[in-house]
């Protein structure tokens, strides 16, 4: 009788052989095509959910395009999406989980600046590259660490410095600002105030609104009557209430010129009833939601890949409007990762430091399907990318691009040199 204590010779041989196979197989498979694992910190729920929905779709589309073209360095790529509930504390746990439990090669995708601020220190401790798609000035300001980069989207400071001269020249010089009362809004407050002063204008009132606010009418009487331009930027699930109540407040009466960041209307249809007052007003857009007449040659392919029509809404549901001026950053960040991994000969987590150094060495990023929003310039010292910006006007309920800036207009003096910091 055979049992575990008295094995037969045949049994022993078979068990030994099976053991050898089990041990050798993963190594063999890995050498062939172990996928590169990219962790994606996603705002699937919480106040950033509308952005999260489109960040996921855009990243999936880019992933498919990259894998169809042979992956990264011949290896297939996979993305692990993990919800952070748009919450800073949960955010750092997500970075932890993606890196330690899931074994991701790097982490990317965060938008809301308070989540970036909460998660970046953990990425630094874990020594994992952390590529944010956030627009905040927090990366280039030097507040974060060598492992955190923003290669897919221009930061707020650069965006604003290109907008201020146009606002002063075309709309007016006495500006009142309405902005969310946290890191991202404070970037707007600080840099626009300085930028408009440089143009001979001034900010006559700054109205900070808590990011979780659901009712806005109460803030509008603080707008001084002599205001020439109302500069508004709002985020979160209540943006539609914000613009609607602004419209109700001014009604048919006299109102200042309106200049908004498209954040106030991301994922919102500009033709929504109650938004008629926006007709003729201007918005900053990174990437024009409504396909511009002079759009680049890759615009159509990008829209088709992500599933967005020429009005910037989902091809399957016209009411599902995209976060068009932000979501391209996930697409461009994935291609940036591909470029850096291939340049550094990245093989696994042991090469993470080499990977960051390869990213820091990148400078010129020309226009192409890899960068549908436009050509960019990466500053390895500040870990920040710079691209051109657009101004659109609401005409007949649609956003029509009226002005495009150059990359150079948005450049500013380096505030930090991350390359001198230790890993």
């Amino acid at each position: 009788m055979t049992n575990l204590l008295h094995p037969t010779r045949r049994g022993l041989l078979m068990a030994g052989g099976a053991g050898l196979l089990t041990a050798a197989l993963p190594g063999y498979v890995a050498a062939q095509a172990a996928p590169i694992k990219i962790g994606f910190q996603l705002h699937r729920t919480g106040i950033g959910a509308a952005y999260g929905r489109w960040y996921e779709r855009t990243a999936q589309a880019a992933l498919k395009a990259i894998n169809d073209a042979g992956g990264i360095g011949g290896r297939p790529v996979e993305i692990l999406f993990e919800d952070d509930a748009t919450d800073p504390k949960r955010g750092s746990e997500v970075v932890d989980k993606l890196t330690q439990s899931d074994g991701c090669d790097l982490v990317m995708g965060t938008l809301f600046s308070h989540v970036v601020m909460g998660s970046a220190p953990r990425a630094g401790e874990l020594k994992v590259p952390y590529l944010v798609c956030s627009e905040g000035y927090h990366v280039a300001s030097g507040a974060l660490n060598r492992w955190t980069l923003q290669p897919g989207i221009t930061d707020v400071r650069a965006q604003i410095s290109t907008m201020a001269p146009w606002v002063a020249a075309n709309l007016g010089k006495k500006v009142t600002m309405v902005f969310p009362d946290y890191a991202f809004g404070h970037d707007h407050r600080d840099f626009f105030t300085a930028a408009i002063q440089a143009q001979g204008g001034e900010v006559i009132a700054q109205i900070a609104v808590p990011p979780t606010e659901t009712s806005f009418t109460r803030y509008f009487p603080q707008i001084p009557a002599e205001t020439e331009v109302l500069y508004h930027v709002m985020v979160g699930p209540a943006v539609l209430t914000f613009v609607k109540e602004l419209g109700e407040f001014y009604g048919t009466g006299a109102k200042p010129q309106l200049f908004g960041f498209i954040d106030s209307l991301e994922a919102v249809d500009t033709a929504t009833p109650g938004l008629e007052f926006l007709e003729g007003s201007h918005f900053w857009e990174a990437h024009p939601r409504v396909k511009a007449a002079d759009a680049g040659e890759h615009e159509s392919a990008y829209r088709a890949a992500v599933g967005v029509d020429d009005n910037g809404a989902s091809v399957s549901d016209a009411a599902d409007v995209s976060t068009y001026s932000h979501m391209f950053s996930t697409w461009e960040t994935l291609y940036f990762i591909k470029q850096a991994m291939e340049a550094s000969g990245y093989a696994g987590p042991a090469d993470r430091q080499k990977l960051v150094e390869a990213m820091e060495a990148i400078t010129d990023l020309p226009y192409g399907i890899e960068r549908p929003q436009g050509a960019k310039r990466f500053n390895g010292k500040t870990h920040q990318v710079f691209g051109s910006q657009n101004i659109s006007q609401v005409q007949g309920g649609k956003l029509v691009k009226v002005h495009t800036t150059t990359i150079d207009e948005g450049l500013y003096e380096d505030a930090v040199d991350y390359t001198t910091m230790s890993f």
Binding site: T214, T217, R218, P237, A238, L240, T241, G251, T252, G253
Partner: protein, 292 residues
Amino acid sequence: MAFGPFLLLALMEGLVTAAVLALAAAGLSLVFGVMRVVNVAHGEFYMLGAVLAWAVTTMFPGPPALAFLAAVLIAPLLVAALAAAADGLILKRLNYDPEATIVATIGLLYILQQAALSLYGPNANPVTAPFEWRIQLPWFGYSGYKLFVVLAAGLILLALWLFMTRTKAGLIMRATQVDRTTAQAFGINVDRVYMGTFALGAGLAALAGVLIVPIQQAQYLMGHDPLLLSFIVVIIGGLGSLRGTLIAALVIGLSDGVISMFFTPTLAKILATLLVALVLVFRPQGLFGAKA
């Protein structure tokens, strides 16, 4: 903006807050008064009202006004039915023990919130107002729908008051509130009264949610603020006192409107919370509550 119009706008905004708050808090107060249950899940009934209003108006084929009317009728009824089921399945089995029901309703809060997240999703969806009418004053414009909310809330509260004071059902509820055991001895089916009260309380919260949703948007996390403010109102007004709830809602709503306009919304919240603390220290039964 000059002082006069500024104050007028502050008062109008305050009235809207007060109206919605009074509805939600009346439900909370009723449930506590009659059942002695502190319903922590009350804000989720408000959220469900808003979410169901979105669902009904989305599915309803007719013009916005009719779709909204359908939502006003259907959403609170569905929420009330859900609350009745929760009462029978959970609260009754705990014998309405005050401590146990607090923990149970906390659980209910998360179940309802996460169910909304799973079934409805994380997005904020707008509901079209039944009418687009804007009042244009010389100094500012104002949404006509917001004034309608104040009017509607007033009428609903009046109906609630008539129900409680003029109908047999109201009498039975009040009798149960005064003394449960004696009411039972007189042949009142206390279990049914409790179920009806919990359903009515939830229905009022849901109605507040339906009224607010054309102004805000329906989102699964929207129950937090109304819960907190309802508790503030109910503690100040006196748990179980409808009159106290109404007056406290007006005080909190109007002071919130005025203080947040002339100073900051944060200061308004600080003062409201301070007022709760003072009431709890100096008059624990609330301004209009009966001594325990």
